[in-house]
Structures are given as structure tokens and as C-alpha cells.
């Protein structure tokens, strides 16, 4: 079975259009590059019950879950409590995290700052040097900050652990419309049922009208399917292949 993933974006600011989600587009590209099959992306509000329910459901369904957001010091930061609730864990204040927060805020450290030192009991702290703050992992759920720069620098330091069998890709660009080639695509899928075949119109593109993407975890299977399809497409409509 391939490794799978679900992404949970937590934040009213995304749902209300105040901030555009930059994390899921980044994670989509990275996970594909790593060969991980991303199955769901969901954006949900800052509400404990809703977050806990999705964390539980996605944790059961996928190899890895990535959450983003809701781990700051204010009232709307409820991700830690939600992840703890999802698995029935208590929330604790481990000395290591408390010391980290106190060293950062010094004499100004208050109760709100210390909220950022809380974690679900049984969670693991993953060190990502040279960054000082560790990343929280609870079961198979990686708890990322919502700030895109912080998510990206943590993910990029961790990503080797998600390396899976690569997904190979070839592409065909056509000047035909999708309807003209639909039958050829269907017949190719009859012969190569395991092929991941995408067909994407580009209505206002001057260069091509349809992009076909062919993917497989087997390079030889992909090559065979690619040759099969390429030979059956109307040759005069092929703009280029990649």
C-alpha cells in the first residue's frame, strides 16, 4: 500500500478570506514529489470538537496527518487541546518546553506564553536543528504552525522521513479539445487500468488546449502506457510531449 496523507488547515482567518492558505499548496507539491498520495485537504474553524473529530478520522484513515495552525498563545489557539481530545490524552506542560518559552520571553513570560509550552501527553517532540523549537508529533499527526514560513522551514527539515516510492510522470500537450480524445483515453485505461491519467483543459492557452498527465509508480508500466496512448492520439494535434 502506498503511503497516504491528509492535511487539516485550522483557522477562521482562511475560511473568512482574510488570509489565503499558502500551506496546503506547498504541502501538495512536496508530498507528491516525495511519492506520498495526498487524499484530503480540509479547512475547518478554530473549534475544539470539530478539530478533534477530523484529527481522529484522518489519523485512522491515512499514514500521516499534517495539521496547520492554532498553536499560538491566544483564545483561538485550540489545536493542542483538540489533538489531545482526539486521542483521549491529557494536556501536559513538559519542563523542556516550559524552559524554552521562559528562555525566549524572559521576565515577561506570562500564562499566555506558557500555553505554547503545552502538549498532549504521549506526544513526541521532534528536533529539527538548527531550529530551536521542536515539532510536535502525536500518534501519526504532525502539528505544524500556521505561519507559512514556520511550516516550510520545519517541513523541509523533516521531509526525508516521508520519502516513499516515487510517482513517475509524463505529459502530453495537445491542440485538440478534450471531447475529441476522450474515447482514446478511455480505451487506454481499459488496457492500462492502473494508470493515473489526468486530462486538463487550458481554455485560454495559445500554446495547447489540453494537458494529459500520465502517472505510475512503475516506470516500465508508465512507459508502456505512454507509448500506447501517444500512438493512438491524433498525431497532428500533439503539440509536445514531456
Amino acid at each position: 500500500m502506498p503511503n497516504t496523507a491528509g492535511i487539516i488547515i485550522i483557522g477562521n482567518e482562511i475560511l473568512s478570506g482574510k488570509v489565503q492558505d499558502a500551506n496546503s499548496p506547498y504541502l501538495c507539491r512536496e508530498l507528491r514529489f516525495l511519492g506520498v498520495e495526498l487524499c484530503r485537504i480540509i479547512t475547518i474553524p478554530d473549534e475544539l470538537e470539530i478539530i478533534a473529530q477530523h484529527v481522529r478520522e484522518y489519523s485512522n484513515a491515512y499514514t500521516w496527518v499534517f495539521t496547520s495552525g492554532g498553536i499560538g498563545p491566544t483564545h483561538d489557539d485550540v489545536t493542542i487541546d483538540s489533538v489531545a481530545a482526539a486521542f483521549g490524552h491529557k494536556v501536559i506542560l513538559p519542563p523542556r518546553l516550559e524552559a524554552l518559552v521562559r528562555s525566549f520571553y524572559g521576565d515577561d513570560t506570562n500564562e499566555a506564553h506558557l500555553r505554547m509550552a503545552r502538549m498532549p501527553e504521549g506526544g513526541a517532540l521532534i528536533d529539527t536543528p538548527p531550529l530551536q523549537t521542536p515539532l510536535l508529533l502525536v500518534e501519526n499527526v504532525f502539528v505544524f504552525p500556521g505561519v507559512p514560513e514556520l511550516l516550510k522551514n520545519r517541513f523541509s527539515l523533516l521531509k526525508e522521513r516521508f520519502q516513499s516510492d516515487p510517482i513517475h510522470l509524463r505529459q502530453i500537450y495537445l491542440s485538440a479539445n478534450e471531447g475529441q480524445i476522450a474515447d482514446v483515453l478511455n480505451k487506454t485505461l481499459d488496457t492500462f487500468p492502473e494508470l493515473m491519467l489526468g486530462s486538463y483543459p487550458a481554455l485560454w492557452n495559445k500554446d495547447y488546449k489540453v494537458r494529459l498527465t500520465l502517472e505510475s509508480r512503475s516506470e516500465s508500466y508508465l512507459d508502456a502506457a505512454f507509448s500506447h496512448l501517444q500512438a493512438r492520439l491524433p498525431q497532428e494535434e500533439i503539440v509536445r510531449v514531456e
Copy 2:
């Protein structure tokens, strides 16, 4: 009860990072402007059972559901069948849609093109002049194309029907860190429990460090909450208010 919405983005091309979703950021902003409370955005693969399940669930949960993608002529376009399955409707080929497709493709019209003339029985076709092709509405589910230009021009012609009680917004920009003001935010929420209050750090911003957003459907409630909070924040940390 305020009007609510759920967005279902359908497409392997988004999950695999080949195409970045431009439709949900657009709909987020538009729906907020219209006063609609957006509760979920989910991106799911081109698979009939998964689409049908989410359409059914979201249709029951929210005032309106917006789907995007999967209505073209190829094998991976399964949204029409999925929406029909969600409500237990048959798929029909209404003469009006068939005529539209035949007038567009002329003598080249084939079975694949005619897939685009199919719709669930009992669905409504909404005309959006000057556009020639009507938009499909099934129960409370608006079935939009995935191509961003096509979604935007249809939604913009329809949006008046979603006009709801407006959500009023005020903002405060601060040079403080979130932890310093968390206590004041909590106390404001004790006094104004209906206030929608967001706190968003801007770690690398030179102008301010935190943006507070205060929202309410009642302008007078918002004004009272705004004055209450503004007076209790450290005055020297307020960069500006909006």
C-alpha cells in the same frame, strides 16, 4: 440563523500539486463579503463514492454547497454522476443541454461531448446571461466548473442571491507580541461573548506584529466591543486601527 456554506473542490490535479486551487480563495473572499458563514473547504479526489458522500453530508449541514470541477467530457469527470448518486436521482440528458452541446461542436459532436449535456433529474438550470451555458443547481448544491475563469464569471453573475446579513469588521494593528495581549483578549470575550475575535501574528512584518480582527453582524455590538478592547490594550503598542 446565518446562512452557511461548504465548498467541495473536486480534482486529483489539486491533491497532486499539479494545479493550485484558485477557486476556494476566491469563493472565501466573495462569501465573506456577502455575509455568508463559510464552514468547510474540502478537496477530494475524482471518485464517485467520495464525492457523493461529501455532497450529501455538506448539503444536509449548510445552507449552500459549492462544488468545483469534474464536469468535463473525460473519464475523470464524475461530478454529475456523483451529485445524482448523493440524492438518489437518475442522470438524464435534457434536450436543451443536448442542443447546446450540438450547436457548439456541430458535426464533430461525439459521445464524450454529450457527457457535458447530462444532469441529475430534478436539478435546475440557472441562466446567467450573457453566458450561454446555464449553471446546474441540485437541491442546494451549485455545480461549478473547475476552470477558475468559468467559475468566477458564473459566480459573479449569481452572487446577489447569496446576499446575507453583512458581517462588520474592524481591525487593530499592534507592535506587541500575541502573548502580551492574550489576557486582554480573553477578558474582552468574557464581556462580549458574541464577538468574532481573531489574532494573527505577522512575524516578519516591520510595520506591526499582530493584527486583531473584530467582527459582528451587529454594528453597534462591534463598536462597543471595539471601544472596550481598544481602551484596554497597551496604548503605546497600537500601530493603527481600521
